[in-house]
Symmetry: D3
């Protein structure tokens, strides 16, 4: 059940039976020579819709641009500053909390979002307490990373071993291939497995070390069929995660 | 050509031939008893993709949540504060301008966005001048409202006369029906044509006067076939608009 | 009745009979080789005082600097960033709403203010709702552009035809001549009628195309006597506008 | 020479001979039962114009609303938050510094502005350094309080002794009477001399102790003739101050 | 070598031999019935000084208040909002980067700081790039949590097993006992081992579940002698971490 | 009684007998060739602890970095921007006011903090009123400068006459020598007494005139024994100040 495809009376009816809502959050950033710039948003969105279908949850529109300042040295990458993303999350949560939503589940496709989202949740709680929302103490936000679902990492390990890497990974590329088979790219990856292990600092520094944008990965291993497997595992795992989150007392 | 489906080398190659990029911007807000909450984002996105196809332009991901504070008394509506949207636009434009983009064309589906977007453009120009971007003086942003394309308003007038109204209009509802025929809603609209003519102030006030969320419209007149017509007219008109914008000296 | 010339007990007494207040808002920006930098503030202020006299309204002090970032390439021009103007309007409205004011009528002399002011009003409503002001739902803000009053544009059309233009117009120059006859400037305008029709982007770009600052206008046509006519028409029209605004339910 | 009454070429010519500019800054706040709400802005403005006449300085438009949060419990009082005033001052100074102005002299009428203005100056210097303005190291801002000019305080002491007080003082009331004799108020002041000596905290607290808004003063002692004397002394003193400021190396 | 105990010429001399600086960051928040409110700041500070002694690094003053919004339901707890902490870190790093510092090592005592600090680092890099600092691309920030040093967690596991918990842990309490033996508290802990496993949301919710403030811990197991062991292990581990950070290319 | 060395139940108990809290605020900035960079924080902290001991007041952790933007041209100096410091003070005061604290006494060691702190107090009062804290009207903040205590300035005058100066003064250096005798520096001061009398503007300008960082002072006159005298006088004076502040009605 997608928020964008509901009317407001349908949302009103939904609120009579549930206080939960899911938002996919991705990023718009380089994913190496063959990965899609929208990889993280595409993955988060498709998983979130799957979880919505599986659990009956309302799924809000995708936050397409996340916190990817460290990727900005590659053309086409876009990013919110952390302070902007914090303001944005506050703007998403506050009105919905006024409507009665109390459990906000952000399905995330980008590691770079995690820190800022956690900071944002803290700032949200403080802001709705300051605004004296009647249900302020009941509002809870959680971030769930599809790529860290246990079954997902197990499959990635089995399929790719140490060529999974940590950015422009074959697992995320596979998932985008499953969703957009028409957008599969090919390019010569050199080296086949990207360098790894260097900490991430600013964007200039990032590009100097990770010259083609990948981190430790060999995305050539990805196939759409793998993507389907990742999709199903992620949906199953995060559906359980969402239902547990709803049931928390 | 969608940014989200490109790799970064493809963007680099695109920049060798064009400095333009399109971003759809919509809203996530009530559209009456039968209109979709995502109406404005859906319409902006489909038109933008059409314009991208027609002109070869790069189309960025949709800004799904816009400035809709006046709709927040209806459940499911979400809004950025103007100050947040201004920060967001700055975060979108600044890195892309660093990559070499200079013409930013925002295809808009929501009247409530216009004022803040214009304010944002001014703030963007000042920010990139302060940051001494080498191409700061060349960066231009424009907002194009699909629903105000001349051919679109002419058709709406012909089809719906004074039942077009100004919010939850049959023309925008028709366009969403064309895109998502599976999400067509039905409900008894009472009165058939919504009240009109009252200025918009805060959200509580809005709901008091516009009780079901519509403004002056009768969305029951919409059909998917109309939607197709609106789509084609809007794409044609805004494609011309985009190309003119690129060619401005 | 000017706020600046009242004592606080007089304001308290005023509030017993009216909830309305008027603020003139102008700009401090170039107006071509002969127009005054303060044109927009001067016009807004004199019209607002006239409206105050005609309607018994309380008139606050003039907001002399507005949103004129696009004029900053001309010396002597000053501008608030949109985000600053939004904060400022919030600071003006919030305490007065606490005192009991509920209708804020901004008489505006500068087209560049309109977008940001509309954005500001939305942000104000959200801020006073967050602060739980008891009368938050009753607060309404409106912007009224003196130069767009119907009778004003009709007279400008009659007097100047297509030499009115859109910046440093003879109508606004005439109004300043009426108010400050001692500050009438003369200079050779070349071309007599300034170029027009180019969209406004950043300030460097603005000056490149609109080299002497005028847009499509021939301010040499202005006379103080015209200014008196404009003044009277604007006061009459905006007085009606203010009274209607007060009477809205 | 008032900025608002200049054309931009006149400002350009002025910059060829001087780098200085004066801005009056006042406040819009209660001044007891008989003082004008605009007292601080009126005084700052008239003195600034006098200084401009005496020294040939360019005088910008008055900042009518200052930092008066502690007065907000009295109807009609308005205030910028300090953070807003800091942003505003940055917006005033930055473009003018780009035009070539380097000495910003703020003639102030309100004690409550001083702390925030000093904070603002620091923030301005940092902002223009961050923006790499070529003359960043040369920009200097100074605040000059007319009511603390030595000759002014001496006259106030002579005329009013310990009934001068510190808010709604007879000296400032006298100056407004000189400027606006038509707006002289009368009311029974009780007690004749207001209480004094209590520190200022929040606005509710302020009103509790300073019940009619005055602090230690007896404004009934004011006369327009005194006002003329204060005016002349303040203009003389601050003219010297401005000229010294210009001549500082 | 403590920054606070240096003169500026000593810092200048230091910069000739090193580009690194360490800042301890803690928190001011409840640590259960017996833990010190300053626990996280005390621990970070003592470890940082130890690392400074061991490595010759310059150690800046402690950031005593961190991001602890979730603890605010307990009296005496203080917290920066994430957006404030992000601004603060920017203010610390930017001037020091201008002086030539390029490696900023934050020794951290509080898990709640991590997310916001990572967000802050990203925002810092963007800000110094916008300000065009000559060494912008070389600036790197890292956060190092003393309590997660491998040897520290190993010892905690050995000494306390599953009574270590995750807030008001015996290991951190032990370290404060080593530093401030005069401030060892005693109180009856009930239950002996605090509840655990519940996610952290807002502060009201936190206190409801974690009634005395502890999370899964039994701080009664702490002794000053343990504290000394933790101190030594942490200093050794983070000294190595700092030196590696300096040597990164 | 130091907050950092209390448990939260101890703070709860303290609140049953007192509503007051003290925060030392200093700065991290150059103090000439021989003064410590931490001088202002060290002095504020030691005096605050002394006042805490003398009065039984709770003393919070030191704000080590203040508003010292004008010192940033000297290596090792750090500063918050005024807007950051305002946000920080709001974050300190708001939660403590929720816990019941109502008198916030900031013992200050740095003249550059005063203006921003006063601005911050105003912004705090407005913020807690907006958040509708039940005790909002009772919250009071005060700043007390140890170096301006009457007995302190009298002793400085007696000991140093006109070699006290206004930055890197022998009195503050003496106090740091008393606290940290192991960190006494020596260097040839040239000239012996630093230049004075020039207003402070931006940091580049500051360093140009005050070449070694001192202002009008001869810190060579300082001795640890003097420092002890200053300490005792400051503690006595500010203890009285704090107690008076608590007793204000």
């Amino acid at each position: 059940m997608q928020l964008q495809l509901c009317s407001w009376p349908e949302v009103e009816a939904y609120l009579a039976r549930s206080r939960g809502i899911i938002f996919p959050i991705g990023s718009t950033e380089q994913h190496g020579p063959t990965g899609l710039i929208g990889t993280d948003a595409i993955c988060a969105e498709v998983v979130a819709k799957g979880v919505g279908d599986a659990t009956g949850a309302l799924v809000g529109p995708t936050i397409n641009v996340g916190m990817a300042l460290h990727h900005l040295a590659f053309p086409g990458s876009v990013s919110l500053r952390p302070s902007t993303l914090i303001a944005l999350i506050q703007d998403y949560v506050k009105p919905l909390a006024r409507h009665g939503f109390e459990r906000f589940y952000f399905i995330n496709g980008h590691g770079g979002n995690v820190a800022t989202m956690k900071a944002a949740f803290s700032e949200v709680y403080a802001a709705i307490a300051d605004a004296n929302l009647p249900n302020a103490a009941k509002v809870r936000c959680k971030i769930a990373n599809w790529y860290q679902a246990q079954a997902v990492t197990a499959l990635a390990c089995e399929l790719y071993g140490n060529q999974e890497g940590s950015h422009a990974t074959p697992s995320e590329v596979a998932l985008t291939q499953f969703v957009y088979p028409e957008a599969i790219k090919s390019a010569t990856l050199s080296p086949t497995v990207a360098p790894a292990g260097r900490s991430i600092y600013n964007s200039a520094d990032f590009r100097e070390f990770y010259a083609d944008g990948r981190m430790g990965s060999n995305p050539d291993l990805a196939t759409p069929a793998h993507g389907k497997q990742f999709y199903e595992l992620a949906v199953k795992d995060l559906s359980n995660g969402y239902l547990s989150f709803l049931q928390e007392t």
